[in-house]
Amino acid sequence: MDINLNFIYGHLPYWLFIILMLSGLFIVVSRGNLIKKIVGLNIFQTSVFMFYISIGKMKGGTAPILLDKSADNSAVIYSNPLPHVLILTAIVVGIATTALGLALIIKIREEYDTVEEDDIQKMDQKDLKKYNKKNVLETNS
């Protein structure tokens, strides 16, 4: 493998999608607000879709909708339809998981009265301490 300008130009789209994906990952890992985490997850997901679609792209190609139905379509270049089909399914599944995640956030906010991960962890630890103390008292008595 030799690294020349052609190689870099041909791989730049992939790298840009990876950088976009990493920014989504960074939001998911570093931000405590749960709604922001879902937004980050969406960015992550969409950039993976872009990567898949870019694999199916052919230079000078057009959308895989047949122009001339009677003849064999060897004269026209069509991009690969298979990644498109896969990603169509993935988008719909993605919105389903997003909806479920948002419903969970609403439920969490009802229980904890906050959507910040730090506060939730603090409250969990306090509860755990209380529970442990109660257990120790009960076993002693």
Binding site: M58, Y78, V85
Partner: protein, 161 residues
């Protein structure tokens, strides 16, 4: 932008705009079906769902004292590994890539004969991969049931209080 903004409304609106721009990118990469699904679902439905969640929860993010060092290390590590993985890939838009050489052209030539639908993506989605699409609707149904079950307890509890 989504990193520093404190107002969740702005964050959600920006995420909708991002979805719309990505739909344009899908058109540029010849995936028109994906583009209008992304515009309808990503920019439309998901923005509405997030706004509804924001209305039911909080509007402003709290200040946090989290360290960004560990996330930064994780992200850089993943990035280096992924970019190393792309080095073996064919160039963007290449004709001789493995993805183009095998099934794609076969489907392009047989779909119209089998189904009579000029849109190959629709033909594959509804016929060759019909069971997969059925499974997808099961996933959506399950998610919808989950959302209903999670949210059905909300009002009752508020009434009790």
């Amino acid at each position: 932008m989504a990193l520093t903004l404190k107002h969740l409304f702005a964050v959600i609106m920006l995420s909708g705009a991002f979805s719309l721009v990505s739909a344009m990118l899908f058109v540029a990469m010849d995936a028109v079906d994906v583009a209008f699904t992304e515009a309808a679902v990503g920019a439309g439905v998901s923005t509405v769902l997030m706004l509804a969640t924001m209305a039911l929860t909080v509007r402003v993010q709290k200040e946090t004292k989290r360290t960004i060092l560990f996330p930064l290390v994780v992200v850089c590590l993943v990035g280096v590994l992924l970019i190393y993985g792309t080095l073996d890939m064919p160039n963007f838009g290449a004709f001789d890539s493995p993805a183009q050489l095998h099934l794609g052209s076969t489907y392009l030539s047989i779909t119209y004969k089998d189904m009579g639908i000029p849109n190959v993506v629709t033909g594959i989605l509804a016929s060759y991969r019909g069971y997969d699409t059925l499974g997808e609707t099961v996933v959506v149904l399950t998610a919808g049931l989950g959302v209903i079950l999670l949210l059905s307890g909300l009002k009752g509890r508020k009434d009790k209080e």
